[in-house]
């Protein structure tokens, strides 16, 4: 039993390994991110905005530079690679 076998089993059980289900999952993730941002603006005393999270965890220049590097790598991987 390889890791890919178990991965296939898990994804098959969860979503059936079809493209529409995968698109639905990622759409839900993106909607959740925007939903959290809206909630953060509605209830700022309870939930930080994405910018607040970035400022909190990535306030040091080295961490911010690392995050920008990851962001650039993601862009290269997703859109030009």
């Amino acid at each position: 039993m390889t890791a890919s076998h178990w991965s296939a089993q898990i994804t098959a059980v969860v979503v059936g390994s079809d493209k529409p289900a995968g698109l639905a999952f990622w759409s839900v993730v993106i909607a959740a991110l925007f939903g959290l941002e809206l909630l953060a603006r509605r209830y700022p005393e309870r939930l930080p905005s994405f910018a607040s999270v970035v400022g909190h965890y990535l306030g040091h220049p080295a961490w911010r530079a690392a995050a920008v590097a990851v962001w650039l790598f993601a862009g290269w991987h997703l859109f030009s690679h």
Binding site: A21, V29, F50
Partner: protein
């Protein structure tokens, strides 16, 4: 403004700027969804967009007035409060999914973000717009926020 509020004229300019920026980002994302991978056009387009976002973001962060520096949610110091871990949970679920989908055998459709946005052009445009937005936040959020835990609670709130 002595009370720290935004002057009406500047607010109108701000709204117009946001509308134009959203329109430009949407048009750019639609255009980007048509780029062919492994081409110099895609590379120049991607990293040119990144340079524009980072450059404009850095300029915007420097040009902002003090009333903008707290952010739209009024947070003064990037404090993680209450449900802040919800952000971490959503990202962790997405990363876990992507890793698992990466291991999917070749005879099944990969459910990674990259495979799906490659297969569906509208989804590609959506992901590109989200990528631009994340870059904008990285570029415009000020450095040097307080350490984890934020400010201590005020007297009477302990």
């Amino acid at each position: 403004m002595p009370d720290g509020s935004v002057p009406p004229g500047r607010r109108a300019i701000g709204v117009a700027t946001v509308v134009v920026a959203v329109a430009v980002a949407a048009a750019l994302s639609g255009w980007a969804s048509g780029w062919q991978r492994y081409t110099w056009g895609a590379r120049f387009g991607t990293f040119g967009s990144a340079a524009a976002v980072l450059g404009l973001g850095a300029w915007w962060a420097r040009a902002r007035r003090p009333w903008d520096r707290t952010g739209a949610d009024g947070a003064t110091a990037g404090r993680i409060r209450g449900w802040g871990w919800a952000w971490v949970v959503v990202v962790a679920v997405a990363v876990t999914w992507d890793v698992l989908a990466l291991l999917t055998p070749p005879d099944r459709h990969h459910l990674t973000l990259s495979a799906l946005e490659l297969a569906e052009r509208p989804f590609h445009a959506l992901v590109f717009a989200l990528w631009l937005l994340i870059g904008w936040v990285l570029a415009t959020t000020p450095l040097g926020r307080p350490p984890l835990g934020g400010e201590p609670p005020e007297e009477g709130q302990r």
